[in-house]
Symmetry: C2
Subunit: 458 residues, 2 copies
Amino acid sequence: MITEKIPYKIYLNENEMPKAWYNLRADMKQKPAPLLNPETHQPMQASELAEVFCKELVAQELDDNTPFFEIPQDIRNFYKMYRPSPLVRAYCLEEKLDTPAKIYYKFEGNNTSGSHKLNSAIAQAYYAKKQGLKGVTTETGAGQWGTALAMACSYLDLDCKVFMVKCSYEQKPFRREVMRTYGACVTPSPSMETTVGQKILAAHPGTSGSLGCAISEAVEKAVSNDGYRYVLGSVLNQVLLHQSVIGLEAKTAFDKYHVKPDIIIGCAGGGSNLGGLIAPFMGEKLRGEADYRIIAVEPASCPSLTRGVYAYDFCDTGMVCPLSKMYTLGSDFIPSANHAGGLRYHGMSSTLSELYHQGLIEATSVNQTEVFEAAEYFAKVEGILPAPESSHAIRIAIDEAVRCKESGEEKTILFGLTGTGYFDMKAYEKFHDKEMEDYIPTEEELAAYRKNLPKVES
Amino acid sequence: MITEKIPYKIYLNENEMPKAWYNLRADMKQKPAPLLNPETHQPMQASELAEVFCKELVAQELDDNTPFFEIPQDIRNFYKMYRPSPLVRAYCLEEKLDTPAKIYYKFEGNNTSGSHKLNSAIAQAYYAKKQGLKGVTTETGAGQWGTALAMACSYLDLDCKVFMVKCSYEQKPFRREVMRTYGACVTPSPSMETTVGQKILAAHPGTSGSLGCAISEAVEKAVSNDGYRYVLGSVLNQVLLHQSVIGLEAKTAFDKYHVKPDIIIGCAGGGSNLGGLIAPFMGEKLRGEADYRIIAVEPASCPSLTRGVYAYDFCDTGMVCPLSKMYTLGSDFIPSANHAGGLRYHGMSSTLSELYHQGLIEATSVNQTEVFEAAEYFAKVEGILPAPESSHAIRIAIDEAVRCKESGEEKTILFGLTGTGYFDMKAYEKFHDKEMEDYIPTEEELAAYRKNLPKVES
């Protein structure tokens, strides 16, 4: 029931913006499995986690029952600087596809960090500041998270130390420069600044680094320095909580125009964007108030949901972090050099993993050349140059819209457009020059990684 | 008189967006001087201009009397894809500066071309399409105009041929890649594709090109190919007309909240952004309905308004284009290698030149290191990474706000934030590494260029 013409872009007013984050887990009957101590295999206690993470974030991490967390006024003020993000009706895309489907996307790229990552970065930095800390440490691969955290820390006058995977540091000097603009200290990882970095450099001179190594360095730096904590941009419950602002805004915008999406699509790496986008919709689904088809899209080269196993595994390659029960390819899985750096993660948010396990979410995987075809098509038709990560969702949204054309169904599709691709033009160049390849791990390769999963008694 | 709290960002509704462009010249008693034929020194006739430009654009170019031109529905539809742009109240900046001034900026960077250039690119492409042309040619330096035109042509299925100054082509491969994403053919200039390019390469093997040469190549390509015309992203009356959408939106947004700016600030290269931003405000000023202080900001390294002369000069270095009466440094003036590529132009819009000559606009110039200080400060405080060009306006807006603090005046300041700096990180890097220099041409240098101005009897 559409009562008035939907604008191209729906912007909420300031007074319509969410005042609380929504904690999806509160409505799950079967909760996600708890984090385990990697040595004792016992559930991680708040006191243990508080050595690495800020206190209030630990509380959010472990709380499976509180449905809403009030967004502190300071964070809401920061959100006003770049939010609300528009809910866009893709009229041009619909026309070009000649589909009866109605396509919407929630566009999170209109901020300098270029993605949705800022929603959680400001929250994590805020709680660090509130705790009286001097600063935070983190790792970054593609650089979106590092940029977002640098912006948040600059705003709050917190020190920000980023370990950037060395190959990214060298290949993406402009991302690094944005972080420097925001006053962050960016170190290529592995580095000589940490014990673990020194060990790795000694064992593998000339290595170009990995996300796992950068995590280990960032954690070591945090726990070995007074007044510092470690922060992470995805996977964790707290991150999904903060990212619920995406879905809450989208739902409010839809409700204003009496629109209900049939299909919700998001790319999935660690799960922060998808978990945030679907939060209030999944809440309705869990409470039996509405039904939605929800599709997670991942790269065929890093298919944790579609080809991984549901098991306890390390969150990091260095195996220093807690164990999380999730769909995983094994913590030593090294994804091929695909261009969606934000989706190159061996595991998946434990909440999304449990929802997938319960059959409440579908998952599909796509090849990167198909993804870039969709990206370029979308850029031309809708005028936004999408990030490679976001383009995974575009690919499936287009496929679903084409399916609607074939079947004549007028479905309403919502997808998450997480960010822009301005710092990914090297990938676009490869695509234009037909030098882009698709990588699909073989069954044998995946089986080999699975063998290394930690043995946890269930 | 402020009747309600001003939101951080004011977005107009679709039905509040401008339906017509405003032609500032209609309200000028003393009109800008006409373009002259470079050989006969007689006013350019429509028929002469139509060999190079689209017919309807020629009509817009020469019309000093019609106050409003209806924006065709197709262009308004395209505008809806990325407009309205937000009018932002810079609460954070005001707080940080501790100023009683109220600061607003009209942010034009939230589109893939990264700047306001798209406003005129779609209009020019539209009229080319309407005339049944196959395509358009243009030149680009920094790449913002080329990107915008590529996007517009892609949307309308027009061929787009861009001559990109060779040093930019090599230094900014990512800008080039964005244009390729939109299907544009990008050629480093000078090239072997044109007679003028061949001549220049023969005379100066290994030259890294210049904007003047690229213009000459683009014009030659247009006039020597059936079904093509040449388009230009600034300087011309038609461009200022299209860009009036910026000022019209800003004025509507202000009027909604009963706010009236005291000072309006814009960077000025060829004048497209400043001319568009001030249009409706200057209209009121010309009609005696209101008064505004208007400040044009230019680089100290390319000071056409502040240190140029008001005289007839060539619009291009190649001296093939018509003569325009404007503030100019001489068409063979080569600006130093500053990082605001969009402001490296020897002349200025004839309309803005005439307004400046009449004392209706002020002008000031700033050094690039001061500009980047302001840029970084603004990025940290307001969360938007500005383009070097835009940062000229930021610099003066901050200076004026600080002056208000000293005097205790509660002035309302509006400035144009024309674009984002994602493709300018090399410049930011130089600034961070303290390798950025300021260049100010000496009086002797400027005098030498002035000697080469064409002799036109007035």
